[in-house]
């Protein structure tokens, strides 16, 4: 665990992860906190804001990566969310998509639910990621540069320890139909 007094915000961590790519990847965010902070950090037609059950972003991203094999896809999951779909890591490790990565943003609380602590708050997510994807395919965001990230084989996982936000992110303000149509245009380009 990093020094809690010096952690980036979720918004800044998402922006930093996106900046590792030479071209904008598709970004698939989990419901609630990740979706709100992704929009605040970098609203883009290539963002897919998931409103499904917590944790499904990694699975949605896997489906997207499978049908767009020449595009990079980044799934953005919170620690509480990913714990709800931990089996997706096994599925992704088995499917071996060469274009899919996961950004795990760990604030150790359910930010959208009154910041109740998560059961995984003492879990070593780096070790979890390395167990599924390998030592060289899972690293901390603070250790990455664009050059290093470009050399990492996928599937891969980035672990970002983040500060718990003092407030929820701004509301998404988009209907499901808007999200779908905007994303469809970007995905068809």
């Amino acid at each position: 665990m990093s020094d809690l007094s010096n952690l980036p915000s979720q918004k800044d961590a998402i922006a930093a992860a996106l900046a590792l790519y030479p071209a904008r990847p598709f970004a698939v965010s989990d419901i609630g906190s990740q979706t709100g902070w992704l929009k605040a950090a970098s609203h883009d037609a290539r963002n897919l804001y998931v409103s499904g059950p917590m944790g499904l972003a990694t699975s949605v991203a896997l489906g997207l990566a499978a049908v767009r094999p020449n595009e990079q896809v980044l799934a953005i999951a919170g620690d509480g969310a990913l714990a709800m779909n931990l089996t997706s890591l096994a599925t992704i490790a088995g499917a071996k998509p060469k274009n899919l990565s996961i950004l795990l943003v760990d604030n150790r609380v359910y930010e959208f639910t009154a910041s109740v602590p998560t059961p995984t708050r003492e879990l070593d997510w780096l070790a979890v990621g390395r167990a599924f994807f390998g030592v060289e395919q899972c690293m901390r965001l603070s250790d990455l540069t664009p050059e290093r990230w470009a050399s990492v084989a996928r599937p891969a996982m980035i672990v970002a320890d983040i500060a718990a936000a003092p407030a929820k992110p701004p509301a998404l303000g988009m209907t499901p139909a808007q999200i779908r149509l905007d994303f469809l245009k970007a995905a068809k380009c």
């Binding site: 499904g52 499904l56 949605v60 896997l62 489906g63 997207l64 049908v67 599925t91 499901p176 995905a187």
Partner: protein
């Protein structure tokens, strides 16, 4: 004279005819032959998920990009996935096809399947369109027709396969 294709082979051929971009699933005995044919197919990737709710997510990811995706699970697996089915598939209006083996039929009376079937009737049918078929006698155009229906309706569709009395064993 060539023998009649098995139910699993007929389902696979119908799947291929629909030209999906991916197929995903969790095994059930009635789906095993089709899944193995899908895994060996060069026509599309088969994504083997650890849990059924993941399959719904995978299909939604493909459908969000405007591509055809098929899910294959048992009725109990779909019951495990209704949150994802509703809040992704129905909420976003995504036209993917879910093939469900509806265990616990009159010709399929395993004691551990009975409540699955009753829960399927109580929980799934009120929220989604289900078309029912004899697993041993599937039309060649089943999955292409299912996609046409789903794309016209702008929502996922469920194809429920079951064993029927007097029919050839499907698995």
């Amino acid at each position: 004279m060539a023998g009649k294709a098995s139910g699993g082979d007929a389902l696979f051929r119908s799947l291929v005819a629909a030209k999906p971009k991916l197929v995903t699933g969790v095994p059930d005995g009635m789906l095993a032959e089709t899944i193995m044919l899908c895994e060996a197919s060069p026509d599309f990737p088969y994504i083997a998920c650890a849990r059924e709710e993941e399959c719904i997510g995978v299909a939604c990811g493909a459908a969000m990009a405007g591509e055809r995706a098929v899910v294959m699970v048992q009725n109990a697996g779909l019951l495990n996935s209704l949150g994802a089915f509703a809040t992704m598939g129905l909420r976003y209006g995504l036209p993917f096809v879910v093939i469900v083996t509806n265990r616990g039929a009159l010709a399929d009376p395993n004691g551990y399947d009975i409540e699955k079937r009753e829960a399927f009737d109580a929980g799934v049918r009120p929220m989604a369109r289900v078309f029912d078929f004899d697993a041993s006698d599937l039309p060649d155009d089943l999955i292409p027709a299912a996609f046409k229906w789903a794309e016209a309706a702008r929502k996922p569709v469920i194809i429920a396969l079951e064993k029927r009395l007097g029919a050839e064993a499907a698995a």
